[in-house]
Amino acid sequence: MGVGVVAVLIVGWLLLSGGDIPLVDDGPSGPSSFSFELAGNVRLSSTSQTPPAELAGAARNAGDGVKETMDELYFRAFLDTDSWGDYADAFALFDTQAAARAQADTEVLTLGSTAGETFDSVRPTSGELAISVLMDKDKPATAVAEVEFLADATRSDGGTTAIASSGSYYLRQVDGAWRVFAYDVDRDDTTAAAPSPTGSPS
């Protein structure tokens, strides 16, 4: 009976708050996974004359695969405390050529090489993903994922940083998995200083 009431309250809260699916699956030491919200349906372009309706199912499936990769990428790059400072798991989601370049762009594409020393915790506040798929010979050939990701990080010095990552990732299938082969990504973080230990200066 009590459990039922709680369930009803949770469902009611979800409905009143817009029905958003939680972004994270929290574990004891922070999020253990991350899931973007999809902004609309997967957009479809095709090099063939096949009616789009006949390709929609394959495009949706491709979209699922792209989302899986992007969920994993942002989890490993920002939220997974075990990955902080060593983003091999995140860069494994890039193809060989892009991964080489991504290493050099670590400070933009991830929480940063010194995340372990800089931050205590990070929680996502929103994550939105729009996916477009290009079908070639009626099969998904490449995709672009447009990302808007926001998170709040608590710094080791007591301050906070609002993490903002946005941009586009181009993906193609490598051995059956969707991998990033190109990207164009912006970071626009805002950091508030730690509270003064002596209180207000006035």
Partner: protein, 310 residues
């Protein structure tokens, strides 16, 4: 020849870290103000890289709707040279009436090479004429040209001078958006232009440059525009460029600013042969030699008669 491009792309992978296209501007952490804002940008795309230029033969067939493109005369012939290292490119128009040795045999107007030997015969004929080795060709026709720009919502172009098209459309000077049908008419009109086929060839080059500018602008606004352009192009252009290499070409073209692309035509003398009006090209032609060397012709190196003002 495709293998050479793949080799170039592979070389890109090895040296991509040095490309320097990404920028990173992180606010220093020292002397923290009350509010610290850090912004940064990272960009990577698999462009073609290396010292070797890439050449594409761009062809327009006059095949009537419903007939194979390869069966029509090739009335639009352009060499596109891209130098990835210099981030420069050049379009060279070849007059369709150029009287040249045809790869399949004999000497004739160059536009007959397409129906005689298909795209391979056309490519070989132009290679023999110019000394350029092509990596790819692209072939479209009247219907394809019209449909491309209908599907893309028209072509934004700066028309350098006013003229009346062969179907009576008045093309005013200045920036405007042409419909698919108007774009086709713009590229086909010859008789009302002061230098006839030479001017028509220049106009065809102008359409390609305008399309490149439009593509870049749309891609900047919408990352998925890349797919829309590739999809529309693929449905209306016959080509031997595989999709993955088309993507590399697209990323490469995004790095070549239109101002660094020269548009010119290889001119020659007007003559007759066998009762036909022909264009007699000098041999060797200085424009072909220049573009074959490194993929581009600098504006100051364009011969005066290769870019008619009319």
């Amino acid at each position: 020849m495709r293998r050479r491009l793949i080799a170039v792309v592979t070389a890109l992978a090895a040296g991509v870290a040095g490309l320097g296209l990404a920028t990173l501007r992180a606010t220093p952490a020292a002397s923290a103000p009350l509010l610290q804002i850090g912004d940064a940008h990272a960009q990577y795309g698999p462009t073609i890289r290396g010292n070797r230029p890439v050449f594409i033969l761009i062809l327009g067939s006059d095949a009537r709707p419903g007939t194979p493109l390869e069966g029509g005369l090739c009335d639009s012939i352009h060499i596109l040279g891209i130098n990835p290292k210099e981030r420069r490119a050049t379009l060279v128009g070849i007059p369709r009436d150029s009287y040249v040795p045809i790869a399949t045999g004999g000497t004739n107007k160059i536009n007959s090479a397409l129906p005689q030997g298909g795209p391979p015969g056309m490519v070989e004929t132009v290679e023999n004429l110019t000394g350029v080795t092509f990596d790819y060709y692209m072939l479209t026709g009247f219907d394809g040209m019209k449909r491309i720009f209908e599907a893309l919502g028209g072509l934004k172009i700066d028309v350098p001078y006013a003229f009346v098209g062969h179907e009576g459309t008045p093309f005013g000077e200045g920036r405007q958006t042409l419909s698919g049908a108007e774009t086709l008419e713009y590229t086909r009109t010859r008789k009302s232009l002061s230098h006839g086929d030479f001017d028509r060839s220049m106009n065809q080059g102008r359409v390609m440059l305008a399309a490149l500018s439009q593509f870049r602008a749309e891609w900047r606004r919408d990352p998925a525009a890349l797919f829309r352009w590739i999809a529309v192009g693929s449905r209306n252009v016959s080509t031997d460029v595989p999709l993955q290499e088309l993507l590399q070409l697209a990323f490469t073209s995004s790095r070549v600013r239109p101002k660094r692309i020269t548009n010119l035509i290889a001119t020659g003398g007007i003559d007759t042969a066998g009762g036909m009006s022909i264009v007699s090209l000098p041999s060797p032609h200085p424009v072909f030699q220049d573009v074959a060397e490194d993929g581009y012709v600098l504006p100051e190196d364009i011969p005066a008669d290769a870019a008619p003002a009319g």
